[in-house]
Subunit: 469 residues, 4 copies
């Protein structure tokens, strides 16, 4: 059946053309690889850089959507992983191992310190699966399937997570979603849904939401008994895929007051922003509010293992309410993932990441603002929290999204043909936003000032090249 | 907030009592750990053994539910993992790396060789997420949310996978399941749903299913146009959690004939049985039938990474039908997972696992049958395919499930107090079955004859000890 | 816009061709009129007869699917209707009128007498809407959306009722049904789902159902706490559209025992069989079982008003549990409907309909059996309860459904060309059954022996004419 | 079982106390009767009046929520009903009768004249069932279950209609609603959701809705192909239960433009406002827009029969798309209902109801405005279209809803103790609105100027009495 000319599939024996031919025949194109027209192979990573087969370095300003916060091939974490490989690399998750317990304890204690509330940790693999665990906690406690979530929000691509993820494109081909969330406008002040200014709006969008609870005819509550049709509001404290949008600092606190009146839980999805991306252990800590459930993943192993998890307030997750067998998965608390995460937590304890991230973030934001002055209008908005930064690309009017320009910048960055300090460079960016016109920036926490300066230089080159086109 | 006496959470500094105290306070009990009354910590694994903190070896006859088929701490696979850690341990899955392409090509070519059909591979992490990807393929192609699945079947614990997983207990606390499958009796001949004998039944259970399509009033089809309400039938070729049940060898072929008449897809969930557990690369190969989608995971990295995936027939997954952005996840084709899986595939190519598994399986089955003669009635049924073996524990009548006895055997095996060859041993078993009275056995492919003999000895001891109780 | 030749739309001015032309342009064909190729207009009705525009009488053996049990244009009931028209023909249902209260009291007392259980009446219009009220009672009490219902069962065509109606054809074009029932084989002994004989089966089909509750893996229950995924089982005590199928007399009593164990309610849909069609006030009274909810409609006004209703056990429908505003509809307890129904109830009290129906039923059944002997095989099955009778038409083998023959018989009956006693006659029949090969017979309770004899004669003629074709 | 003292249940033999005792024991309290503390029995109706058992007349300003538009006990319509009773009072709806065809033709022609579009009529009984038929048309055509509907909107109480009815209270106890509509703020300018003024808002609420289609992240559309998650927008052209709210006259035309871009159908629910309540045959005719489906009921028989129906554009309801068997109900095109409706249509053709209703409406509105000047603030808003009028009762600030006052007015009106012209009167009102503080007024089309003046007088008395309390 296999044609005679089929190449031997051994590492290092095929060139990129041959590999791409195989990719075209045997790989699903259903993931995000083929968003790009030009496909890039990478062979090595270190610190803030990816390297292609020719050895060209690509400065990465996105770090796997914030999964590799501590730098690619981080020595300390790699060592922790190898140590576990050499002792207990496999163990069915129905048995215990020390790292698992210590990791859960460390996470819960850390959150208790920040938020003042006791809770427990439940592990899983992959962010979406942890989101589904949060849904189980909510349904178990409230008995309700319906949820609020934000326009612009992203929570994963399992069917359950898709139901609370705003993009209709993600649901379009997959039948009827019976638990489709009620999507509420996010406080995205640069493009205010109500055409207000944040200085004077008085959180008008929140008041709009609050108004829904005034009468049964607004569809969400029975004001006679304050019973609501909704079990939870799923939020990203800083919207990630939506374009690294930082909300007004009082928003969530006010939101929680509304939700509490009706027994609606607040679930904070910290998968992308957790573990110091925004300069706090969890991004929600910026907002003076205690969520009921926190979902985390990505950076907890610096990308070395898909382990994820949730924290829930004790009263939602006691052994009585959430008893043995409530949910599980084969790899949920796997030994490799817990070992690396435990080491990562220790690193976070030992280093002052709050300061580090905020200082580097301030420097980076300043650089972006400077860049903005060179491209007025075109860089319509620059903002950020910690090392989660945004640069919104517009037409000359400073507001109309310019998706085409961002697409060219993205592709050109990946061409590896930028030049600085006498060498070729690539620049790895990510595109987000409601109109796919936002460059979302999440550099490694290990990025140096020199690398940031290089980043500004390369960004500048990209704007120059691509605007001219 | 943290009480003064809170212990330092560093590796190796706490004894089991202290760890259990932390576990009791900070860990969710919602997974399967607390099914057991006595909790076991393990610290090392090698080959067919797990080791506890005292150094006692536990012969593992379940190998992480068939995730660690090639033995714990397999040298070759561990080395492959470390090699990747040292080069490209992280890479956003929207970019390509060589191992990913080679792995997909190898998998698709291997399946094409066995089944004669072209297809493509889509990766994800965790079995349930891959099951959800299969659901997306089905919904996209058929436009239908409703599915058939088997009583006794297990496909995972995300909300979508739970809807097609038979156990109601998994859905009980999580609200309304709008896509709940229509569950059909599995051909579990030892406990025939129709009280027939397999020798003479003429696949009566399949005829029952087929009958549903005779009239619109049987609820599933419009016979005027052969349109059905169902998009797919999700099967496990050998039911796993259901108790390692091997169906009649003609069953699935006949089933597929029925499904094809109505455009209902056949999805084979090979998460537990794939990669030679039953003596074939995929278990479905035993049954002379070509499924439309195959889901795999667990053993593909020997448990070193949660990577999973689906294979779908080309016509269901072409780039036109399943275009870029159809679905994705952060860790889907992660470099660590693909690298180990690629090495594992090479091992499977180089070794003759079909023979190896069948020979060891035959030896193990013979041993179990011998054991059965010592406990007539009590061991009501012994069966197996390759190294997927079952031992169904009953009351003296040979049929009434004896869950209590199995529970005692399981716990006693984990007590680490069995004695053989002058040493203490533990025995790691797993319990499955509709009545939780089946010992499901999945030894390492590296198990030796000596180890199997030890296993028979330990099992015998357990039956003796526990029946006497 | 209206073409000049458009006819004036006044009563009596158009011939059938012109009317059919209008019908072809302005009427939806989506209902059941166009099942027939030849369309019949009727202009008058009296007793057991419909009359067409030419004055030909059609003996009606179906009486509007048992809605006009007391004969067309029943003097007494028509008079009651007119009396109400002349006093209080309209009244918003939020106000009270005497007939409404008396009717509810009479119904509830009558059911209490038969079943020994107190309950209340809630009115609505149209059978399907009453079925939906029953669903509300069930959901309110059990908190569960999922239901069991029977293959072959019919409960109406609102979306909710369609979800528990077996025919997939009714759902096919209307999207995803999230509350689709779990359809269980009805005890249709002539075509036993399990190929058993009723004399020896030991209610095998019921045992099959009961078995589903033995293990959580059969998908419907958590045996640890007896919680089920299902809130109710919706039944027709004698399946109507399914082909007037009378179940074994012990079936429902045994079924209820199973349901009670798991808190699953039994809802008896008596819309077609209620009000003495089967010789009892409610058909369920034959079966020595007390349902939790009864749904009724059709014959309660002899077809003069669509009023319908439910009876529910007191503990399911107390004002506390089902408080004001739980549900309503504009015409629910309308004055015209309640007035006629009250008179009909009085008629049922005053006449001995149990005897009357059973005697006429016995005579009719004997006539059908005699007819069967003239067409052996072809009349495969004859059965009945009271005046609900069935005649199943088969191929010569006595079992293969012969839908074509039944279609010819039906059409020929409506041709109005049968001849008896020197005059032309038509015969109005109805077709039911899983294979649309059952003549379901529901004569008027006022039918005379002479009319029944005429019916046998006409049926005989039809078989002769149509078999010869 | 029945206690000896149980009264004989014959008409006229019981006093109100005895009747209320029966009502308390045998009637469900789940409908709207027990919203009131004091229950009223009525025994006769004529013209604009209801009469209680003592003979007191109650001027009815609500006419059964606009079901009895042509006056209670309208001679002409009663006669038409009796004529049908005496000829063909019953006929299975699968056969044809002349009135049915003529009625459909008249309705479709009338709508074609107004809207310029061909269509067909499909009958049912009860408004909610017709709404469900509209849902079937939508799902069949678009393949989508999800709908938009308005906050404040009401479409019925079957489960399907409840899913698109705004009040959460109606869903609260009935489980999960998988097809719950996405509820959009209605243009209720007196209480603008966006705190704008209608003179200057530029239809801001519509622009808010339109904005949802700008990006996939607003959750409802894929802008790449203009596919939307929604099949239809269900509207009431003048919101009825919501408080007889008249929208800006350009609103629906602009809305339809948005919907058309995405293939979303517009369904106009005219159940309460159709048949000249607002001065047009259908209320939608005021708004210069052609809906895709119209739902009607209530007044089409002046409340003498629950017949209802839908009109759909030809291309949505051709026999090919909506073939025989698509849906039906026993009483759908019943002879009594069609006969009365046909006569009612003739009345509407013969009389100039557009003028009549507008003139009486203008007089009534003027009277209400005058009343408003006497209770400034307290009568916060008066508005109307034709004879659909509203009077919104507020606190002295002119905006805060005063539900308690309205409740007292309503109850006092029903006490029958108002005095005018030397006699006792009652006044029948209805309460609507998001905050249940709106008196919704729908007088009979036969109301005289004298009766209207009496109405103003009685209303004035009520305000005086009840404000003083």
């Amino acid at each position: 059946m296999k044609a005679r000319s089929e190449p031997a599939l051994s590492l290092g024996s095929l060139d990129e053309t041959e590999l791409l031919d195989l990719e075209g025949r045997y790989c699903s194109w259903g993931d995000t690889v083929h968003y790009a027209k030009q496909l890039n192979f990478f062979t090595e990573a270190k610190g803030s850089y990816l390297y292609d087969r020719k050895g060209t370095g690509y400065l990465d300003l996105q770090m796997w959507y914030s999964a590799a916060n501590f730098g690619y091939r981080n020595e300390r974490l790699n060592t922790a992983l190898k140590r576990q490989i050499d002792t207990l690399p496999q163990l069915a998750c129905q048995y215990l191992h020390e790292e698992r317990v210590l990791l859960a304890a460390k996470l819960a204690q850390r959150i208790e310190q920040s938020l003042g509330v006791k809770g427990r940790i439940h592990f899983n693999v992959g962010g979406a699966s942890a989101v589904e665990d949060a849904m189980k906690i909510v349904r178990n406690h409230t008995g309700r399937n319906h949820s609020f979530a934000f326009m612009g929000g992203y929570h994963g691509r399992t069917l359950g997570a898709t139901a609370i993820t705003s993009s209709y494109r993600y649901r379009e081909h997959y039948g009827h979603f019976s638990d489709r969330a009620n999507f509420i406008p996010y406080p995205y002040c640069f493009r205010c849904h109500l055409d207000k200014k944040p200085e004077t709006c008085g959180l008008a969008c929140l008041r709009q939401f609050e108004k829904l609870f005034e009468s049964e005819y607004y569809s969400v509550v029975n004001p006679k008994n304050n019973q609501s049709e909704y079990g939870a509001f799923f939020i990203e404290p800083v919207q990630a895929t939506g374009g690294y949008i930082v909300p007004p600092f009082t928003y969530f606190k006010e939101l929680k007051k509304v939700l509490d009146r009706y027994g609606i839980l607040l679930v904070a999805d910290e998968i992308q922003m957790g573990f110091f991306r925004t300069g706090k252990f969890m991004a929600i800590e910026h907002f003076d509010v205690v969520p009921d459930v926190i979902v985390f993943g990505k950076a907890m192993t610096n990308g070395l293992n898909p382990i994820s998890g949730i924290w829930a307030r004790e009263e939602l997750i006691t052994p009585e309410l959430f008893p043995p067998g409530s949910t599980h998965s084969t790899f949920s608390s796997n030994t490799l993932g817990t070992a690396v995460a435990l080491e990562a937590l220790k690193m976070m304890e030992e280093g002052d990441y709050e300061n580090l991230v905020n200082e580097k973030g301030a420097y980076f934001l300043a650089g972006l603002r400077k860049l903005q002055t060179r491209y007025p209008g075109i860089i319509g908005n620059v903002d950020g929290l910690g090392l989660a930064l945004r640069l919104e690309v517009c037409k000359a009017d400073g507001i109309t999204p310019d998706r085409e320009l961002v697409d060219r910048i993205f592709a050109e960055g990946l061409s590896g043909t930028l030049v600085a300090r006498g060498r070729n460079y690539g620049l790895v960016l990510d595109i987000g936003g409601y109109y796919k016109n936002v460059i979302t920036i999440a550099p490694s926490f290990t990025i140096t000032q020199e690398e940031m300066d290089l980043g500004f230089d390369l960004l500048d080159q990209l704007f120059q090249r691509c605007i001219e086109k």
